[in-house]
C-alpha cells in the first residue's frame, strides 16, 4: 500500500494515477477485512474501487490526461507535510495501544449496543438504522444534496449550450 501511494505521488500520467488509486482502494478493503470491519470493507471495495474509479475516468475524459510539469520543486509542501507527520506521530504515541480491551473506545456506549435489544444479528446495521438513525438521515440528505448539486452544475441548458465562456 505504501508503495502504491509513493507511486501515486510520482506518476505524472493521470490515467495511471486513477488505476493506481483503484488498486489502493482494493488494498484498503483487504486491510479493513483484517480489522473485522466487513461492512466497511464491502462499501470501500464497491465505492472506492468501483464507482469512484468510473467517475474519475469520466471526469478525465473531459479533461487533459497529462499533468503539467510543476514550475518549481515542491520543497515547501514537503517540509510542511513531513513536519506535520512528525507532530502527528509524536501525538499518536499517547493514544491507547492497538487492540487494548481497556481503551476508552470499548467502554462507553458499545456494551449497550452489544446487548442487541433490537434483535438484529448484524450490530452495524442495528446501530446504523436504529440507535443512530438521525445520523444516517442527515447523511442520506447529504448524499441527496450532493446529487442535486451535481445536477445543477452539469445539467445541459436546453437553449444554446456553451453560451457562458466565463
Amino acid at each position: 500500500m505504501v508503495l502504491i501511494v509513493l507511486a501515486l505521488i510520482r506518476t505524472r500520467n493521470l490515467f495511471g494515477v486513477i488505476v493506481l488509486s483503484g488498486a489502493y482502494s482494493f488494498l484498503m478493503a483487504t486491510v479493513l477485512v483484517a480489522l473485522d470491519a466487513v461492512d466497511v470493507a464491502m462499501t470501500e471495495a464497491a465505492v472506492g474501487a468501483g464507482v469512484s474509479t468510473v467517475l474519475l475516468l469520466g471526469a478525465l475524459r473531459l479533461c487533459k490526461s497529462e499533468e503539467a510539469k510543476p514550475a518549481h520543486r515542491p520543497w515547501l509542501p514537503l517540509a510542511v507535510a513531513v513536519s506535520t507527520g512528525l507532530l502527528l506521530a509524536y501525538g499518536a504515541m499517547d493514544l491507547p495501544d492497538f487492540a487494548d480491551p481497556q481503551a476508552p473506545i470499548h467502554q462507553h456506549v458499545v456494551p449497550r449496543y452489544m446487548e442487541n435489544e433490537v434483535d438484529v444479528p448484524n450490530v452495524v446495521t442495528a446501530v446504523l438504522a436504529s440507535f443512530r438513525g438521525y445520523d444516517t438521515l442527515g447523511e442520506t440528505t447529504v448524499v441527496f444534496t450532493a446529487g442535486a448539486g451535481i445536477i445543477a452544475l452539469l445539467r445541459r441548458r436546453k437553449s444554446g449550450r456553451g453560451a457562458d465562456g466565463k
Binding site: 473531459l62 446495521t125 438504522a129 436504529s130 452539469l154
Partner: protein, 148 residues
C-alpha cells in the same frame, strides 16, 4: 466497446447476478454484512456496467432519467416518512418501537424501511452522477474544440 463479443456475452451473463446480489445484500443486511449503502452502490454499479458495454443510450432506455431523479428524492422521503410515521403513532421522531405492537418487530420494520430509503437514494445519486458525467463528454468536446 459495443462490438466486443466477449464483453457483451459476459456482461449479459453477469448483470442479472449483480442486480440479484444487490437485492441479497439489501435484504440480508440484518444477518450478515450489508445494508442500504452497499446495496445501493452495487445496484448502481450493475447499471453502470450495462451502460459501459451496451452504450449510454440503451442504459437510459432501461433506466430512464426521470426514474433516477424520482429515486433520488423518494429515498430521503421514505426515510423521513418512517420518522413521521413513528410520530403519528405516538412515539418520538424516528422511534421504531411504536411501529408495531411488539416493539422488536417494530424495530425490524423501521430498520427495513430505513434501509430501503437509503438504498434508493444512494443508487439514484450514483446513477445520476454517472449519467451526468457520461453524457457531458459529448457536449463538452463539441464545445471546447473550436476553443483549443
Amino acid at each position: 466497446m459495443e462490438n466486443n463479443l466477449v464483453l457483451r456475452v459476459v456482461g449479459k451473463l453477469l448483470i442479472p447476478f449483480i442486480l440479484l446480489f444487490a437485492l441479497y445484500v439489501q435484504f440480508h443486511g440484518d444477518f450478515g454484512p450489508g445494508g442500504g449503502f452497499q446495496a445501493g452502490v452495487i445496484f448502481a454499479t450493475g447499471i453502470v456496467f450495462y451502460a459501459l458495454i451496451f452504450g449510454l443510450e440503451r442504459a437510459r432506455q432501461a433506466v430512464p432519467d426521470r426514474l433516477v431523479e424520482t429515486m433520488l428524492a423518494s429515498g430521503v422521503l421514505i426515510y423521513a416518512g418512517v420518522g413521521v410515521a413513528g410520530m403519528l403513532l405516538g412515539g418520538n421522531y424516528l422511534d421504531y418501537f411504536v411501529l408495531d405492537k411488539n416493539p422488536v418487530i417494530g424495530q425490524h420494520r423501521g430498520i427495513f424501511w430505513v434501509e430501503v430509503g437509503v438504498a434508493t437514494t444512494v443508487s439514484g445519486v450514483m446513477l445520476k452522477i454517472f449519467y451526468m458525467f457520461a453524457s457531458r463528454s459529448v457536449a463538452g468536446n463539441a464545445h471546447e474544440d473550436p476553443e483549443d
